[in-house]
């Protein structure tokens, strides 16, 4: 079982794409220590049968069209966009800090 999250930042800096894979027993999504909600200490059992986490961050890859007559960056990646929309949810009312 796999959990996938795709997010983007519209900040105009150099391109960045990070893909992380975490397997059961190595679950630490960030340097901050994470605890199992079940209180299992360091033996980590992910919920819902999840074994792997894939988190992809896009930089300056737009979902919204910059020009109404030109498909956006994500519209030009139909395999990825269709995967998300057909198997989960794409939330486009998402917001970031002013930058």
């Amino acid at each position: 079982m796999r959990l996938t999250a795709v997010a983007a930042s519209a900040v105009l800096v150099g391109g960045l794409c990070a893909v992380g894979t975490v397997t059961s027993g190595l679950a630490s999504a960030s340097p901050v220590k994470a605890h199992s909600a079940r209180g299992d200490g360091d033996s980590c059992h992910l919920a819902n049968g999840i074994k792997h986490v894939v988190q992809i961050g896009f930089d300056n890859v737009h979902f919204f069209r910059d020009n109404p007559n030109v498909p956006s960056d994500l519209e030009l990646m139909p395999n990825l966009l269709n995967f998300i929309e057909q198997n989960g949810v794409m939330l486009s009312n998402n917001h970031r800090l002013p930058g």
């Binding site: 959990l3 997010a7 519209a10 999840i50 057909q86 486009s92 009312n93 917001h95 970031r96 800090l97």
Partner: protein, 251 residues
């Protein structure tokens, strides 16, 4: 911009028009007129060699997306504005609009919500309190506390109260901007607005901090939230107060 170290809190934060770029310049620049180079004596200059279109407190720049796929995530498809319905910088003033004016469809989400939502779906919890909330609208199996009536509505209001580009933030920023631009004897207008902003800030911090803790406990400890309707009412009242203050100032 405000963290645990008060020495790092800026005295003045500037947000320019979307196609403006702010940078440090000469303290003796000329306020009137537009120059052609950053070396010009004018405080403002234009150049055709570089286009900046990613500033600042503007709807297009502050709008983004996040997708979730996996066990525990509802199959909702696109839940928000379509690709051709988002804010853009076309038209007058280069997209000088704020997100909260658009009333976009779909759950209002901030990037701070991604981490707690991921952790919830994984059945993990951090050893600190998140600023964001678990996006309850996308959960296939919310726990008992999150599935109680009024919890999602409280979370939605919390977003508008605490998001940096939500209604409360936009209205207080507008009020403060108008106050700074005012020119009344003894700075009376500025002082009036500043005092009210301080009152709103204290009230916001108290209520948002309370709601944040309750949402965290509901998500990660399955602790029910009591008085959701009353708290949502208080939250909405604060947002209305910020709007009223903004409307009482002149831009």
């Amino acid at each position: 911009m405000v963290n645990a170290d008060p020495a790092r809190t800026p005295t003045l934060a500037m947000f320019a028009n979307p196609d403006y770029y702010l940078q440090t310049g000469s303290t003796s620049c000329t306020a009137s007129g537009v120059g052609t180079s950053y070396k010009s004596p004018n405080c403002v200059y234009q150049t055709d060699s570089y286009a900046w279109d990613h500033g600042d407190y503007a709807a297009e720049v502050n709008s983004n997306y996040v997708g979730f796929v996996g066990p525990g995530v509802k199959h909702l498809g696109l839940d928000g504005p379509a690709a051709n319905q988002g804010p853009d910088s076309a038209g007058a003033n280069s997209g000088l609009t704020v997100v909260s004016d658009y009333h976009l469809p779909g759950p209002w989400v901030d990037e701070t919500d991604i981490r707690p939502t991921m952790m919830y779906l994984l059945g993990l919890r951090d050893d600190y309190e998140h600023d964001g909330r678990v996006i309850t609208q996308i959960l296939s199996y919310p726990n008992f506390a999150l599935s109680q009536p009024g919890v999602t509505a409280l979370g939605e209001c919390y977003k508008q109260l605490n998001s940096s580009v939500g209604e409360f933030a936009a209205d207080t920023l507008q009020a403060d901007t108008n106050a700074i631009e005012s020119n009344t004897a003894g700075d009376s207008e500025y002082l009036r607005v500043d005092a009210q902003l301080r009152g709103l800030e204290v009230a916001r911090d108290q209520l948002a901090g309370q709601i944040k803790g309750e949402l965290e406990d509901a998500a990660f400890r399955d602790k029910p939230i009591f008085g959701t309707a009353q708290q949502t009412g208080a939250c909405q009242a604060l947002i209305k107060a910020a709007s009223a203050l903004s409307n009482s100032t002149s831009s």
